[in-house]
Amino acid sequence: MLDVSLIRKQFPIFSTVNDAGKPLVYLDNAATTQKPWVVLESLSNYYRTLNANIHRGIYDLADKSTKAYEQSRGKVAQFLKVEHLEEIIFCRGTTEAINMVAHGWGMDHLNPGDEVLVTAMEHHANFVPWQVACEYSGAKFKVLPLNSDGSLNLESLKEALTPHTRMLAVTHISNTLGCINPIQEIVKIAHNNGTLVMVDGAQSVSFQELNLQDLDCDFFAFSGHKIFGPMGVGVLYGKRELLQEMSPYQQGGSMIYQVGEQKTTYKAPPHRFEAGTPPVADAVALGTALDFVNGIGLASIKDHHIQLRNYAWERLTTTDHVQLLGSPNQSAGIISFNVENIHAHDVATILGEAGIAVRAGHHCTQPLMDHLGISGTVRVSFSIYNDFNEVDQLIDALVTTRKIMA
């Protein structure tokens, strides 16, 4: 296990209390992670010492600002083990990254008769943009059914791919059930079929070491705020040859090559996809967040998540009237469950009073809820600052919940 007390000291939020005076037990890390001092300082430092618009000014400060921004791009590339810097595009987050592909790539490459396949466990961010791209283009939108426990079935995947499937959109880790999809294998299957793969990495970046060259996926998206970075910045990775021929879905400053009265040409990637003033400070602070993660080490982080998850799974299994969803195998630090006859929102409100922050509802995965035949779940998701004691507090609060709602 990581030294949690040492780590917690690096996160100012843990010195706060809730309205009921309880210290924070933060188990909603799949929604967003807390921010360490170094990231906050990086943000403030940028505005205090580097603030200038990038790629425009020819004075010293603008040059430094541009360098800091581009240096952060380099950190992301290293973090994802990506070969070419221009394969890393800064954007607002996972949602925008996927929209960029669904619309930018979809606009040119989807036609009537084509198919896009998404899995039934996708976050709405990797579902709705494809649904809409299909509506616009006349392509067919297909949803891959799951096993009864909500996990992906590779045999069904093989069957669902047809000669017309242009794109497969799949999440690396389910934000609701925590199941980890074997992306490398999935990509092989898809590529054998001539299908590109868009991977939603929102939940995997902060869980395990990634090597996009090994995964060989065509596009990959993640959000900075889920890996201790600021909200409002994220990354799209795309293979160089795909980005080179992809249309930008936003136009404006910074991304143009030449603007004529009737016709405009665009810069090469990555700048083609970064229209307007980007969130420079946030991008720089994201680089700091990645340094922070590297400092701890993803191998230890993954081990920490798994130990917490296993402990919580075991304790929840032996707690009366708790029904766990998903399966304990091949899973990240995310667990969904329900308490018999008590709505997830009521559970979350009572846990909230005890200072325990969890998420309740459909977690932006309504197709998955439909598949499982439920309306919502209570979700706990772990991070580096959580410990076994917090799991015990969760269990105690669930017992209290039963008493209050009896």
Partner: protein, 139 residues
Amino acid sequence: MRPELKALYQKILLDRAKSTLGFEKGPEAQHIIEAYNPVCGDQFKLFLDLDTDKVDHASYHGYGCAISKASTSLLIESIQGKNLDECRKLIDFFKQCMSGMATNPGEIYQALALSKEFPGRQQCAVLSWQAFENFIDGL
């Protein structure tokens, strides 16, 4: 825990949430009103038969938390047999209760009003009432 929590989830509200009174599908009803909360996915259908301007029969079905269920059940029971004017007055009264302005709110309304003390939960209390109000306004 603050006393507000126990006061919110008090017996009268929990009993109401568990009550099956008026909990009945009415696919043949004259009017089917959707009360849906996109944040949590809670969803009720209100089934109404109107006799000119009087609620002849009302029932509801769907799923939601204890607060939204209790509140919907209360709505359905309260509008039974009322004319639209009386329904409007009832909605006004409900709103006053929710904002703590009513002089004599009654226990269950008071419990529901406490939902505003808890992040994101007031929407659960007003969900079906809002849908019903929109329906009446649109008549």
